[in-house]
């Protein structure tokens, strides 16, 4: 999905150059796209939510969960994801939970924040880095998925658009030489 956003960003307003792989998602057979509800256990849900706040914590602006990313995660994971995507997500999530027991001898959620961060870092380390400048498809495992979802959920939330970014729905003009220093953050509109 992020790839779609990426391509949208790169696509000229005129529709000049959207790559065809945008339409890939719709070519997947229906059977693989049917959602299996109720697959997210309370623990898995809580861990995913916790990870979202480790990825985007509260700073001078609210955190992911404060911005409503929790609901976004629940929706995407249990409704929107295809079975194959969900499988990858849970495999990585469960691996992290097991590591938490074997390495720290406790539940992920009960660990101190520093240990949770180490666990998430380890999860990141298990996934090969991806290079969006290569403009290729990069699917990723649990870490890439939770990071992608958190970031997308956050930046498209009201908090992410109006507090973290600057939301100007009716700019009124175009200035191609505008200075970044005058806004100091990303545009959202």
């Amino acid at each position: 999905m992020q790839r779609r956003e990426l391509l949208k960003g790169l696509a000229v307003v005129l529709g000049g150059v959207v790559s065809q792989s945008c339409s890939k998602a719709v070519e997947v057979p229906l059977a693989q796209r049917i959602a299996v509800p109720g697959v997210l256990s309370e623990e898995q849900r809580a861990v995913a939510h916790r990870c979202a706040d480790l990825i985007i914590p509260a700073t001078d602006t609210p955190s992911a969960l404060q911005a409503g990313v929790g609901e976004f995660l629940d929706y995407v994971i249990s409704v929107w994801y295809r079975a194959d995507e969900r499988e990858v997500f849970f495999a990585g999530l469960n691996e992290m939970l097991m590591d938490s027991q074997s390495t720290y001898g406790g539940d992920f959620l009960s660990l101190p924040e520093s240990s949770q961060i180490s666990m998430l870092k380890a999860s990141e380390g298990r996934e090969s880095g991806n290079d969006p400048f290569a403009f290729g498809d990069s699917e990723g495992g649990y870490f890439n998925k939770i990071k992608e979802l958190t970031v997308t959920g956050y930046y498209t939330s009201e908090v992410g658009a109006t507090i973290e970014r600057k939301y100007v729905p009716m700019p009124g003009s175009y200035d191609g030489d505008y200075k970044f220093s005058e806004v100091g953050r990303l545009w959202a509109s």
């Binding site: 307003v13 945008c22 914590p57 295809r82 400048f133 700019p171 505008y178 100091g184």
Partner: protein, 567 residues
């Protein structure tokens, strides 16, 4: 709306309410004719119909995620467009409800609207004139048939149309891309100006200019100048870009001579071989299924290239399965589009203090520079132009290249990423007889109308010019100092550029062409086809401005002929 089954009440019928239908209705009604417009799509009101306009990202359906199952089942073709999403879906055709015969091994993407206003709602508004380089090419090269008109025939009509729709752009004095009646141009941003200078510095015969777009930089009656909210394809309630709903339909309504019937699908035309006229238009109400017949002195088919030709192909005479309009055998053939999805993009280092303000609904244009002064000897004929833009990468991309997570990660994403520049070519496709649409022998739609089936392939000329499109895009980006240049040349699919045209071409000879020099059917004096079906070649520029000019010109001719008693 009352039933209008008699000839007396209507002088002219216009089929389709999109870009060309709107123009036909405006012109006919302003000339005093009583006009009935028939549109298969659902009713849609200017303003209130644009439910996705200015919708904040956090209020979107499905938490902003594309409902993939729904799209795959019901919008498998339409959802391939960049302009299709939950903010615009209500404008588009439902492919499950209104299918055509789609073959995986011979794909054609028929992208179409299903509302009043047609694709004038979602179009990207790029508006360029053709030149004699285009109109003379078929004759010079012996490809297809000669155009029965030249630039001078259309030039006054281009001006007429541009003044009404409002086209902003920069005059350049180029023969291959004639200037128009421009409102003040939009600005190129700092990086686009850098790239433009670098391109002309390295390649003196190439220029990069701001796109010419039917988007207002100065107000027109009833329409405000653009407020740079973008994206426009969700609709624009200030009428700042040209659409039928914002512009031509209100003008037609203002005459008191105009009536619109939505949900009115034209099935076929009835033909009287004795008078050589269309005697009636057969219509099916898409809600009730009820059938009606209308007749009128003039019939304008403006149902889009495929829509109009489908109607003509389905208009067979008694005891025959051949359309009355197909004496030439050209009906449904010589279909064209543009090549698309080839080019390159790259990162432009520097300029980091700049971050453009506002969503400019327009990009840049590099006019054709190949084979402009004779054959350049590159192994292909005709040419291509580029569209593109420069901008800064944002959180969506930067979050992927920024490793890690946490407070620093969050802080890092607050700054925009580097500048990118993208260049995508639109190239001319030659008119080949085998590129065609026909009516399927057995498959019918829910109203019993034969489904359209397509055959579309790309020739050597298209493949060769696309290689050059990619090569030159890379060379120009290199000249501009770009790094991480990424050439792209994705698989071509007919129709994907949404510039489908041809299939009822204009030409002097009734044995070769369906329409004459005034878009009038050779077979029926009261029938005019003024959408993309009329095209005898495709140029490489976006076509809709030319369709509009042809439409206004055809109406002028038709009404003159009608008044002179010649129709």
């Amino acid at each position: 709306m009352g039933k209008l089954e008699t000839t007396q009440q209507v002088d002219a019928i216009v089929v389709g309410s999109g870009i060309t239908g709107g123009w036909a209705a405006k012109e006919l009604s302003e000339k005093g004719l009583k006009v009935l417009m028939l549109e298969r799509g659902k009713p849609l009101e200017h303003g209130s119909g644009y439910v996705g306009e200015h919708e904040p990202p956090w209020e979107r359906n499905n938490k902003g995620m594309r409902p993939r199952e729904l799209y795959a089942e019901q919008y498998n073709i339409q959802s391939t467009s960049y302009a299709f999403d939950e903010t615009t879906r209500h404008f588009w055709n439902n492919d499950l409800e209104n299918p055509y015969d789609f073959k995986e091994e011979d794909p054609f993407h028929w992208l179409r609207a299903d509302v009043v206003g047609g694709r004038s709602l979602m179009w990207a508004r790029q508006s360029y004139r053709w030149s004699d380089l285009d109109f003379e090419a078929n004759k010079k090269e012996g490809i297809g048939i000669d155009w029965p008109i030249r630039y001078k025939d259309l030039a006054p009509w281009y001006s007429y149309v541009e003044k009404f729709i409002g086209v902003s752009g920069q005059a350049m004095g180029l023969d291959q891309l004639p200037d128009g009646e421009f409102q003040k141009p939009m600005d190129m941003n700092v990086v686009e100006r850098h790239v433009a200078a670098a391109i002309t510095g390295k390649f003196p015969d190439r220029v990069m200019t701001i796109g010419r777009t039917a988007t207002l930089t100065e107000p027109l009656p009833g329409r405000a100048a653009c407020h740079y909210c973008g994206p426009c394809h969700r609709g624009c309630s200030t009428g700042s870009y040209f659409s039928s709903l914002s512009s031509t339909l209100p003008a037609a309504r203002a005459t008191g001579n105009f009536e619109l019937r939505a949900n009115a699908l034209v099935e076929s035309l009835e033909y009287d071989p004795d008078t050589k006229r269309v005697s009636a238009v057969r219509v099916i109400d898409t809600v009730t299924g009820e059938a009606t017949r209308y007749s009128a002195k003039l019939i304008f088919l403006c149902a889009s290239t495929v829509g109009s030709t489908q109607i003509l192909l389905n208009s067979t005479q008694a005891d025959s399965d051949i359309s009355f309009a197909n004496e030439s055998g050209a009906l449904g053939r010589y279909m064209m589009d543009h090549t698309y999805r080839a080019g390159a993009r790259g990162i432009i280092p520097g300029f980091e203090e700049y971050y453009p303000y506002g969503n400019r609904p327009n990009g840049i244009y590099i006019p054709r520079f190949r084979n402009v002064n004779g054959d350049d000897g590159l192994g292909f004929t005709r040419g291509y132009g580029y569209q593109g833009s420069a901008g800064r990468l944002s959180w969506d991309t930067m979050s992927k290249v920024t490793p890690g997570f946490g407070a620093d990660f969050k802080e890092g994403l607050r700054k925009p990423g580097p500048w990118y520049m993208s260049l995508g070519g639109f190239g001319e496709i030659l008119p080949y007889a085998h590129n065609s649409m026909a009516l399927h022998k057995s498959k019918k739609d829910r109203f019993g109308i034969p489904q359209v089936t397509f055959h579309f392939e790309f020739g050597e000329n298209e493949k060769r010019h696309r290689e050059d499109v990619v090569k030159q895009a890379v060379a120009m980006l290199e000249a501009a100092g770009a790094t991480r240049i990424d050439p792209f040349n994705t698989e071509m699919v007919g129709g994907a550029a949404i510039h489908e045209m041809g299939t009822a071409r204009m030409g002097h000879d009734p044995k070769q062409a369906v329409l004459n020099a005034h878009n009038q059917a050779h077979a029926a004096s009261n029938l005019f086809v003024t959408d993309g079906a009329a095209m005898a070649s495709s140029s490489c520029v976006n076509p809709s401005l030319t369709y509009m000019a042809l439409t206004a010109r055809a109406v002028d001719y038709a009404v003159t002929q009608l008044q002179a008693g010649a129709i």
